[in-house]
């Protein structure tokens, strides 16, 4: 007989083994914690030794760790920690949270996240007066002191009928459902005057004040998803019984929590002004292109992966999230109508990239011999294969084109042709042909390894991928495989069941269809074109410093790998990208033509079923053209054509970077994909 335990066992999800990527990232985290402790010598558990012996011990530990690090690099794990040898650094004691959480700083030491003292107000429900009337009096007096509203409003309580309660009573009621009679914080960061009134009042039984350290983000919504937020975990497994310690929850706060909680500061590569310019320009692009409703940008050093700016809109004020949050604010942050401000679209939102994908296709075609540098294609306005024809956007007829021309005018027919020529027989090449091989080597379909959690892998379509989703669809429809025991469905919408076709490859060649790429992945791919084939590992952390600014550790992740692209091919691709951005007839020449730096850039327009097109722009100014190389990728969700919505944002970012001001908002009008 099946009892309830068996039924619970039956619904145990069948999860795969963790990916090697996840394992490596976790191992890296652990190694950083280990390195932090080793670096904080002398250790308390070590026997008292003479200065000389202690020095030697430290060197031994350093040797062992360096050996481990080298091994890790050799086997491709890529350890992130480079140990410097901090002398004379007195640790506050590792393994224990410091009293003040370390700050997160921008490139030049400006504060992005700080900890400051504050006073919170708590209510202990068990100590409130017994009678409803007396309790109401306490709430009323407290609301008066705090200046909060006593008007009753809708108060949703999980698992109960919605009630109508005033603000403070609502917070207490919501807490009681979850945490019983545990004390509940009803106000944070109250003024010294309010604190004094509460402390001195004899008419507020059950109300207390508490001095705390408050996490604050001086710039509110600036890079909010990147910087992240902190929350609390019980330091003892028995919840509610013990003191709370602050722990990073998302973003850099989470990634570098070990160091921050020990009181050390994290200096990042973020450039505050660039970040501001990017967010402002992206917001402008969204406002100018209805129904655009979100977007992302990333700007990084194409030679070493240092991220100068990374933004995602809509965004949120991180100061709201670190405090006990009102139901309304929580709803605002999580309501689908708000379009998910907590998500970092630059690394978590993957989708087709439109024509910004074309340089990857070009590399694959050239390197595989499917196309030669000087070959000419006659673009008649349509491209047909197996009886199916596709057209350029707006049925443009571009005539005789070589590779450089094809990028400049963004001829889809030209690249449909390359997609057809690089398609491989799915029975003999289940992982696809040259296009998949090269896209993969550019990093498409895999996380970049940036020092932020939750990065999306995206998707690189191949015959094997299609077979897998088709099988999943069948299993879902029939209640078999992973769906064993589930009801049958007529359709699950996972895949349409057809096998891999040449059409799939043609779509991939122009960045449409099932390919999914994050803005950061595209930035890494363009960086490789800019730097001659190095796949950089993007990163935000520069170093760990103590409170007086002494560097304790440098964070200098190695490039993940180098790909070999014939320099002649790179030149050809570069020429095409430059012509697209800065010669007459180029699709974004009306945006960048008069820009005083040498820009290599490509617009893209990604098509979605049932939504307005997504606008993309990817560009760089390489080290051969400037002493301040930079790569920038921008996407505007439902922004329409790439040259129209995304490219003006990229221009303002470049302008801020090179000239210290964002300049004008210059929109293009190319209607290519």
């Amino acid at each position: 007989m099946s009892n309830e335990l068996d039924q619970v066992r039956d619904v145990r999800p069948d999860v795969p083994l963790p990916t090697s990527n996840a394992r490596d990232a976790a191992r890296e985290q652990l190694r950083m914690a280990v390195a932090r402790e080793v670096n904080a010598a002398p250790r308390s558990s070590a026997p008292v030794a003479s200065g000389r012996t202690r020095h030697r011990q430290r060197r031994q530990l350093g040797a062992v760790l360096t050996a481990a690090t080298s091994v890790a690099v050799v086997v491709g794990v890529g350890a992130i920690v480079m140990l410097s040898h901090p002398r004379g650094h007195q640790s506050t004691g590792v393994g224990h949270a410091a009293e003040v959480r370390g700050a997160i700083l921008d490139q030049s030491g400006g504060a992005l996240a700080v900890t400051r003292p504050a006073v919170n107000v708590l209510i202990n429900p068990a100590r409130l007066p017994g009678s409803v009337q007396l309790r109401a009096d306490v709430y009323g007096r407290l609301a008066h002191i705090l200046g909060t509203s006593t008007k009753v409003t809708t108060c949703p309580i999980p698992g109960h009928a919605t009630q109508r309660l005033a603000n403070i009573r609502c917070i207490v009621a919501q807490s009681q459902v979850r945490h019983g009679t545990a004390a509940v914080t009803v106000a944070v960061g109250v003024s010294p005057g309010a604190r004094r009134q509460i402390v001195q009042s004899r008419q507020l039984p059950g109300v207390a004040t508490k001095r705390v350290k408050e996490r604050a983000y001086p710039h509110g919504d600036l890079a909010a998803q990147v910087i992240g937020t902190v929350g609390s975990i019980p330091s003892n497994p028995d919840p509610g019984a013990s003191a709370q310690v602050s722990i990073g929850q998302t973003g850099l706060e989470s990634e570098y929590n070990r160091f921050l909680r020990a009181g050390d500061n994290l200096r990042t590569s973020l450039n505050q002004r660039l970040q501001q310019a990017g967010q402002r320009a992206l917001q402008e692009a969204i406002d100018n292109n209805p129904p655009a409703n979100g977007g992302a940008f990333v700007a990084l050093n194409p030679d070493n992966g240092e991220v100068y700016a990374m933004g995602s809109l809509p965004t949120f004020d991180a100061n709201i999230v670190t405090k006990p949050i009102s139901a309304a604010a929580y709803h605002q942050l999580t309501n689908p109508a708000s379009n998910f401000p907590l998500i970092n679209r630059a690394i978590q939102s993957a989708g087709p990239t439109g024509s910004t994908f074309k340089p990857i296709t070009e590399t694959a075609a050239l390197e595989s011999g499917a196309w030669n540098v000087n070959d000419i294609f006659d673009d008649t306005g349509q491209f047909c294969v197996s009886g199916q024809c596709r057209h350029n956007s707006g049925h443009a007829v571009d005539g005789a084109l070589n590779l450089v021309d094809a990028l400049r005018v963004s001829s889809d027919d030209f690249f449909y042709n390359l997609g057809a020529r690089t398609n491989a027989d799915p029975t003999t090449h289940p992982n696809g042909g040259a296009l998949q091989r090269w896209a993969h080597s550019f990093g498409i379909g895999e996380p970049t390894g940036i020092d932020l959690g939750g990065e999306a892998s995206g998707n690189l379509p191949s015959p094997r991928w299609r077979a897998r989703v088709d099988q999943l669809e069948l299993d879902c429809e029939h209640g078999t495989g992973p769906y064993n025991g589930h009801p049958r469905h007529r359709s699950c919408g996972i895949a349409d069941g057809r096998p891999w076709s040449i059409g799939d490859n043609i779509s991939l060649a122009v960045g449409q269809g099932d390919v999914q790429v994050t803005p950061l992945q595209l930035a890494v791919a363009y960086s490789a074109i800019a730097n001659g084939g190095k796949i950089v590992r993007p990163h935000l952390g520069l170093d760990i410093e103590n409170s007086s600014g002494t560097v304790l550790q440098r964070i200098d992740p190695p490039s993940t790998r180098r790909i070999n692209i014939n320099p002649v091919y790179l030149d050809t691709i570069g020429q095409g990208l430059h012509d697209a951005a800065q010669t007459p007839g180029g699709t974004s020449d009306d945006v960048f033509g008069n820009f005083p730096e040498t820009v290599y850039g490509k617009a893209g327009t990604a098509q979605y079923n049932g939504q307005q097109d997504y606008s993309w722009y990817a560009c760089f100014v390489p080290a051969t053209a400037t002493s301040k190389p930079i790569a920038v990728v921008v996407t505007v969700e439902q922004g329409g054509f790439g040259a129209v919505a995304a490219s003006p944002v990229a221009r303002e970012i470049l302008s801020q970077w090179f000239f210290g001001n964002p300049g004008k908002y210059v929109a293009g009008n190319s209607t290519t994909l």
Binding site: P18, A22, R31, V38, Q163, L165, Q176, G231, P239, Q249
Partner: protein, 211 residues
Amino acid sequence: VIAWGRELLAGLRTIACADTKSVFGRERSDAAIIGDSLGRPEAFEAIFDRHFDAVQRYLARRAGTSRADDLASATFAVAFERRRGFRAAASSARPWLFGIATNLLRNELRTEQRSLSAIGRVASEAGRGDADAAMLEPPDLPALLAVLDADQRDVLLLYAWEGLSYREIAVALGVPVGTIRSRLARARVRLRAELGGRRDAARTDRQEVTE
């Protein structure tokens, strides 16, 4: 040269100790490795090697793969920092690690992170997220488990999904074995009521809001 040789020997000894096998070729216990790691922090990586997959999969079953990666990573970082509190009497570190993972998970669900998983679901419904992962989750699971309070749910899933014994769950959650027994019993009663359709009975014992 002598000093150099001594240093080399000491280095070699340090590396030899990092081996998870004892000199007799037997597997060293987790407790022994954690003991070592107090003096040599880098030894702790052996604990990671032994248990990371199990911890990550436990978290994946409860929070989905993408969140599980972060949480599993955090679990080992927290475990490393708290390793002084590991009780040597428990030879395996797994229950202890599951306990830390469970706490992190709870915190995750309690805070704004809940919205992220909601985002994941919505995003994949829109065809832009990881559709596979979202579809794999059996649809009736949340409903079935939602009737339990968090304490009961933790015990039930550690027992039924992860196969931990009462004693191991007690270690994981830091409460007496008797409490584990009673929590599991209450969880089963609640579930039986839900599954048997006696929803009214279950509803009446739901805690009333005092206001």
